[in-house]
C-alpha cells in the first residue's frame, strides 16, 4: 500500500480488501474433519483408536500374505514351497492361475467351452439391459431375460443334438458356471413366483389362499439343507428305477421353490404397507383389478421392498454353495477338490483357494447391494425426507 504525497496524513482509509486468512485449523481442514468425524466425543475417540489398532494389527499381515509374499506364477507346487523358493511364501496365486479354467467351467469339455462363454455374454447382456435404468426397450429386456435367455441358456449349455450342439451331461458342469446357473435360476424363478404367491396369499378365494399359505409355510418350515438332501438322496429312492431326474435339476427346483417362498413374504410385506386408499383411488378411476395391481399397487409395493428383495438375492447367491454337499460341483466345491491335487500340495494353497472364493463372492454380493442402494435412491427421489 503506497500513500501518495497529496494524501492527508491524518485520514487513513483502507482501499484494498484484507487478503482472506485461512479458517482456524480447528473449524475446517483435515484436522477439523478428524475432530468432527473421528474424535467428537471420548467414546468416539476410543472407538476410533480401537478400530485403528485393529487395522494396524490386521492389514499389514494380510497385505503381506495376499500381495507382498504372494507367488504369482509357477508350474507346480515347487513354486509355492518356502524351502524350494528360499523365502517365506504367502498366497499361492499361481495355483489359482493354473486351475482357473477348472474354477470357471468345471469339467465342461474343453472343445465346447465356447458355449459357457456365450452363456456368460448373454447373461451380461440381459443383466446389463435390466439394470441400466435408461436403457431402450426395457420391456423387451425383461422378456429377453425371463423367457428368451433361460431357453437359450438351456439349449446352449445342455446341448441339443438336432442343432449340432453335442449333449453335455450336467455331471460335467462345474465351477462359477454352476454357481451362476443355480443363482440365476433361483433369482429368475423366485421373483415372479414370489409375487404370485404373495398376491395369492391375500386373495379372497379360500382355495387359492390356502394353497399359497401351505406352500409358503412348508418351504419356510424346512432348512435348505434338508431340501437339498431330500432332492438328491431321498427322491431317487421314491422314483421308479427307470425314471431319473437330472442331478442338477433336482436341487435347482428345490432352491427355486425355497427362495420363492421367502420372496413371497418379502413382497407381501410391501403389499401390506400400501394404504387401502391407493386401491380405492385406482378403483374410482375405473381401473380393472389387473390394472389396479399392475399400475398402482405393485410398483409402490415393490419399491418399498427393494432392500428385502436384494437381501433375499444376496443370501440366495451365497446359499448356492450349499449344493456342494450333495455332490454338485459349484464354485466352492471346485476349490475344495482342486486344493487336494498333489501336484499343488503346498502349505498355503488351501488358504489361497479360500481367499479367492471370498473375493469372488464379495465382488458379486457387494455389487448387488451397491446397485440396490442406487436404485432405491433414484426411485425414492420424490420422497426424500
Amino acid at each position: 500500500m503506497t500513500a501518495g504525497p497529496q494524501t492527508l496524513p491524518l485520514s487513513f482509509v483502507r482501499r484494498d480488501a484484507v487478503p482472506p486468512a485461512p479458517a482456524p485449523a480447528l473449524v475446517s481442514g483435515p484436522l477439523a474433519w478428524l475432530r468432527a468425524n473421528l474424535f467428537s466425543s471420548p467414546g468416539n475417540a476410543a472407538l476410533t483408536l480401537i478400530a485403528l489398532a485393529i487395522v494396524v494389527l490386521v492389514a499389514p499381515p494380510l497385505l503381506r500374505f495376499l500381495v507382498v509374499d504372494a507367488v504369482w506364477s509357477g508350474q507346480n507346487r515347487d513354486a509355492c514351497r518356502p524351502e524350494v523358493v528360499g523365502h517365506p511364501v504367502g498366497a499361492c496365486w499361481a495355483f489359482v492361475a493354473d486351475k482357473i479354467n477348472y474354477f470357471v467351467y468345471g469339467s465342461y469339455p474343453i472343445e465346447e467351452r465356447w458355449r459357457p462363454n456365450v452363456f456368460f455374454a448373454l447373461m451380461a447382456l440381459g443383466v446389463g439391459w435390466l439394470l441400466w435404468l435408461d436403457a431402450p426397450r426395457r420391456d423387451l429386456g425383461a422378456a429377453y431375460f425371463f423367457v428368451a435367455f433361460p431357453v437359450a441358456s438351456f439349449v446352449l449349455l445342455s446341448g441339443v443334438p438336432a442343432l449340432g450342439l453335442a449333449k453335455v451331461p450336467t455331471s460335467l458342469w462345474g465351477g462359477m458356471l454352476v454357481t451362476l446357473v443355480v443363482s440365476l435360476v433361483g433369482i429368475v424363478a423366485s421373483l415372479p413366483l414370489g409375487i404370485l404367491l404373495a398376491l395369492g396369499r391375500r386373495s379372497r378365494l379360500p382355495i387359492v389362499r390356502l394353497f399359497c399359505v401351505i406352500f409358503i409355510e412348508f418351504w419356510r418350515g424346512v432348512p435348505l439343507i434338508t431340501v437339498l438332501f431330500m432332492a438328491n438322496v431321498m427322491l431317487p429312492l421314491f422314483l421308479p428305477g427307470d425314471v431319473s431326474v437330472d442331478r442338477l435339476v433336482r436341487p435347482l427346483v428345490g432352491i427355486a421353490l425355497f427362495s420363492a417362498a421367502y420372496m413371497a413374504e418379502v413382497v407381501r410385506g410391501g403389499l401390506q404397507a400400501i394404504p387401502r386408499g391407493q386401491a380405492e383411488g385406482a378403483m374410482s378411476l375405473g381401473l380393472s383389478p389387473w390394472h389396479r395391481m399392475r399400475l398402482v399397487i405393485l410398483p409402490q409395493a415393490l419399491r418399498i421392498v427393494i432392500p428385502g428383495i436384494v437381501n433375499s438375492f444376496i443370501s440366495l447367491f451365497k446359499d448356492t454353495s450349499l449344493v456342494s454337499i450333495v455332490g454338485i460341483f459349484d464354485f466352492i466345491r471346485t476349490i475344495e477338490s482342486a486344493r487336494v491335487d498333489p501336484a499343488w500340495a503346498a502349505p498355503t494353497v488351501v488358504m489361497t483357494g479360500y481367499a479367492f472364493a471370498a473375493l469372488f463372492y464379495f465382488v458379486f454380493c457387494f455389487g448387488m447391494s451397491r446397485y440396490a442402494l442406487f436404485v432405491e435412491r433414484r426411485l425414492a427421489s420424490g420422497q426424500k425426507r
Binding site: 477348472y102 455331471s171 460335467l172 429312492l237 422314483l239 477338490s337 482342486a338 500340495a345 503346498a346
Partner: protein
C-alpha cells in the same frame, strides 16, 4: 435322529431297489445307454481328483475307465458322478450310478446290510502315523507319551485309542474338527505325531512346510480294504467288475504293459499271456464281453502296477510304496486268480 433317518432311508432303498436292480441286468443297461455311471470321489489325492482342465485322474477313476475299456473299447465312456461319503450308498442303491469306485472300505456291516457287493479290493489301506524326523522315532511302538493329532469323531480316533491301549503306551490325543486343522496343528509342532489313513498321510506330507522332515512310520494299525462296490443281486456285473481288477493284476504278473501289449499279442507263446489277451479260449464271451476284453483294458488303461505307479506310486507326487498292494509274488496281497 439323523442316523435313524439315514438308516431308515438306506433300509428303504435297499428293499425297494433289490427288485429294481434285478429288473434289468446292469451290463445290458450300460451297453444300451452307452456309458458307465461311475460314483467317484469328489476329491482325494491319487484316487480321484480333477486336473486343471477338470479331467478326473486317480486310481479309483482309472478303475472305471478300465471297465469302460473292457465294455466299449474306449476308456472315455464314463460319466463320473462325484459322491460325498453321505450320499454314496443311496446313489448306488437307487440306480443312479452303476458302480461306486471311491475308496469305500469293505466292512461286514456294509456288505450285509446295505444291499451291496464288494467284488474286489483295489487298494489295501490302513491307519498309519507320521512323525517329525528329528524325534528319532522309527516305530509306532516308541511313541510312549507322545501327543497325537487326529480328527474328531472318526474311526481314526477310536483305532488310535485301541492301539495305544493294546500296547500299554501312554499318549495324549489332540483332536480337531477338520482334516485341514488337524494337519496344520501337527505341522506347526502342536503334537509329535499325526495319524490318518496311510494313503492320506502321503498326501498330507506334501503340504507340510518341510515335507522331507517328516517320515511315515511302518506300522499300520487298522485294516481299510478299499474297493469298488456294486448293487447286490447282479452276479454278471459283479463278475465283470471283479475280473476287470483281476485282469489288471494278471497282466502285471505276466509282464504285459500298455506299451508291449500289441507286441505280446503277436509274438508271445506263453499260454497265460494268450489267455489273458484273448487269443486262446473264449473267457470274455462267458463274461458277456468280447474276447479281447482284457487286451483293451491293458492297452487303453494299463496293468495294475502301471495304474498304481502313475496315480499314487513313484510316478506321482504321492510316492506311496506298493507295500500290501504289491503282487502276491512280491510279498503283497494283490492276488489275481488265474484266467483259464
Amino acid at each position: 435322529m439323523r442316523k435313524t433317518v439315514a438308516a431308515l432311508a438306506l433300509g428303504l432303498g435297499a428293499s425297494l431297489l433289490a427288485g429294481a436292480a434285478q429288473a434289468q441286468a446292469t451290463l445290458t443297461s450300460i451297453k444300451q445307454k452307452g456309458y458307465i455311471a461311475c460314483g467317484s470321489n469328489p476329491g482325494l489325492a491319487g484316487f480321484g481328483v480333477p486336473d486343471a482342465q477338470g479331467r478326473w485322474a486317480g486310481l479309483d477313476v482309472d478303475f472305471c475307465r478300465a471297465l469302460s475299456a473292457a465294455i466299449f473299447n474306449d476308456a472315455g465312456k464314463v460319466r463320473f458322478i462325484p459322491l460325498s461319503a453321505k450320499d454314496r450308498f443311496t446313489a448306488l442303491q437307487s440306480g443312479e450310478v452303476d458302480i461306486l469306485s471311491r475308496n469305500t472300505t469293505w466292512s461286514m456291516s456294509r456288505d450285509t446290510t446295505l444291499g451291496l457287493d464288494f467284488p474286489a479290493i483295489n487298494f489295501y489301506d490302513g491307519q498309519g502315523f507320521m512323525v517329525k524326523k528329528k524325534l528319532g522315532v522309527t516305530s509306532a511302538k516308541q511313541l510312549e507319551g507322545a501327543s497325537v493329532c487326529t480328527q474328531q469323531g472318526t474311526t481314526t480316533e477310536l483305532n488310535l485309542a485301541d492301539y495305544f491301549r493294546a500296547n500299554k503306551l501312554k499318549y495324549e490325543v489332540v483332536a480337531f474338527a477338520s482334516a485341514d486343522e488337524t494337519f496344520k496343528a501337527y505341522d506347526s509342532g502342536r503334537c509329535d505325531a499325526f495319524t490318518t489313513d496311510a494313503s492320506g498321510l502321503y498326501a498330507e506330507r506334501l503340504r507340510a512346510s518341510a515335507p522331507d522332515d517328516n517320515i511315515v512310520l511302518p506300522e499300520i494299525i487298522s485294516k481299510e480294504p478299499l474297493g469298488p462296490a456294486v448293487r447286490q443281486g447282479d452276479a454278471q456285473w459283479s463278475d465283470v467288475v471283479r475280473w476287470t481288477h483281476y485282469a489288471m493284476l494278471n497282466a502285471e504278473e505276466a509282464g504285459i504293459t500298455q506299451g508291449n501289449a500289441d507286441q505280446m499279442l503277436k509274438t508271445s507263446d506263453n499260454p497265460d499271456v494268450k489267455r489273458i489277451l484273448g487269443t486262446e479260449g473264449k473267457y470274455g464271451a462267458d463274461l458277456g464281453l468280447t474276447g479281447d476284453w482284457a487286451y483293451r483294458i491293458i492297452k487303453l488303461v494299463g496293468n495294475y502296477g502301471e495304474v498304481f505307479e502313475k496315480n499314487v506310486g513313484q510316478g506321482s507326487p504321492l510316492k506311496i510304496q506298493r507295500g500290501l498292494n504289491a503282487l502276491w509274488s512280491k510279498g503283497g496281497l494283490q492276488y489275481g486268480p488265474p484266467i483259464r
